[in-house]
Subunit: 273 residues, 2 copies
């Protein structure tokens, strides 16, 4: 059986679910009820989260840091939860958010680890080393390699806005020049709706933009929907995972996902394809 | 017992060994004799490499990619070989080359994973997200957080040379403004001796510069020694690990390390402190 491309999964997802919500599976002690704090608890916890959110999400994004910090168990958990997600819903997108960036020889090892061994549909990459660092990922046709362009954190400006035109625009032009398959995308923080619009104009509608920063980081979903029309994935991590805290476990997580899915509701799917 | 700072270890190392050689422990199938290709073989292979090189090296640098690609075994191997290195030589520097960079919340998880759980003396970080992404590492006093400034790969120019003054210089100035403990360093590829000199001038002699790219990537050790005077770590990975190929296993590795240690020989240690 041929593996579905990221684009096929995305299109299926928004047609079926009518939302752009991507849930960030970033397990931390604070995000988990105490009953999951023991050995093996993280996986059990994530399974419950997936059970309660997958009908309202078109993608899951796993930030590698929160798994690495658990050592071996973390690495095992990445693979286990990835398999679990796909057993629930074979066409939901899985993104490993690792922001890797290294020389070609090394980037190949990262790409192999994420796309081949991990079987992820997508990953994020850091562009600081230039095209060399991106090619080993880009080589994987049908996978979505998302370049970190404009980050949601306060000091993101320091390098990303350097020069004239600013670095992030220069980077977007590089992406367009080199990607003729539309398999590259961009990360743009929700806290920068103006620049999201600029990035969208340069990349066109057919390239994916992943927008983190809605929820805990203060980004506004409505502004993102307006500025980002085209292939769009909007990520919420803490906003969903901590959803049980002012509510109850586990239904509070389901309700939070539902609320965010509504905020990112897509009435005319063509606008986001 | 108080943990030694990275600087104490560095100073001990060059006084005792009289070289700046840092050995890159990047295990790949091609670097290992066939007898090590089975389960658990990587660790055994690395132990032999450490046995035969540690008297000629002041530091070991482990590039995370080559371990991650092995999954759980890789993560276990990072910790096991780190412990093995320190059992052989408690003051040799250990650098986890991960080039991580993410928003503060996430970078904290990476820093914890590398400095606390891993117990490494040093790590490399990617600056594309700005100061936010560096602070969680920098907070660890006595550890050396090395910022990727100027990489050795051909397309490194694309972002690093952007703007006027070029981005990498702007970044060096940021480092100097913010680091009053001299615990930040810079990665500068051996293929850029001219820019190595510029970075050294901005950072001063007391900040560490890690120079990869000697050996397989074509950088010249002599030029690096001239341009980089001050705290300096010169990394060779494939040049040492593949040393047995035109020679014999395992003595070829020992001989390669010896040759590189000689090329990076320090006669007047004060010039590199």
């Amino acid at each position: 059986m041929l593996r579905k491309t990221w684009r096929e999964k995305y299109e299926e997802g928004i047609r079926e679910k009518g939302t752009l919500l991507t849930v960030g599976l970033d397990p931390t002690i604070e995000s988990m009820p105490k009953e999951f704090w023991g050995e093996g608890g993280v996986l059990d916890y994530l399974k419950v989260v997936v059970d309660l959110t997958h009908e309202n999400a078109i993608a899951y994004k796993l930030n590698s840091a929160f798994y690495e910090v658990m050592g071996e168990e973390g690495i095992r958990t990445i693979l286990d939860i990835k398999r679990y997600i796909n057993s629930k819903d074979s066409s939901i997108l899985t993104i490993l958010d690792g922001k890797r960036g290294d020389i070609a020889h090394t980037a190949e090892a990262y790409a192999k680890s994420i796309y081949e061994k991990g079987g992820f549909d997508s990953t994020t990459v850091n562009p600081y080393m230039g095209w060399d660092a991106i090619t080993p990922f880009y080589r994987w046709e049908g996978r979505l390699t998302i370049v970190l362009v404009r980050s949601s954190n306060p000091s993101g400006d320091e390098l990303q806005m350097w020069g004239e035109p600013p670095l992030y625009k220069h980077l977007c032009k590089m992406i367009v020049e080199r990607d003729d398959r539309y398999d590259l995308g961009a990360v743009v923080g929700a806290t920068h709706p103006k620049e999201l619009q600029v990035v969208r104009e340069i990349l066109g509608r057919k390239r994916a933009i992943l927008v983190p920063g809605v929820g805990a980081q203060g980004g506004n979903a409505e502004a993102v929907l307006r500025a980002g029309e085209g292939i769009l994935l909007i990520n919420v991590s803490r906003g969903v995972l901590h959803g049980w805290k002012d509510d109850e476990w586990p239904t509070g997580v389901a309700r939070a996902a539902e609320r965010y899915a509504m905020k990112m509701k897509v009435d005319q799917v063509e606008r986001f394809m």
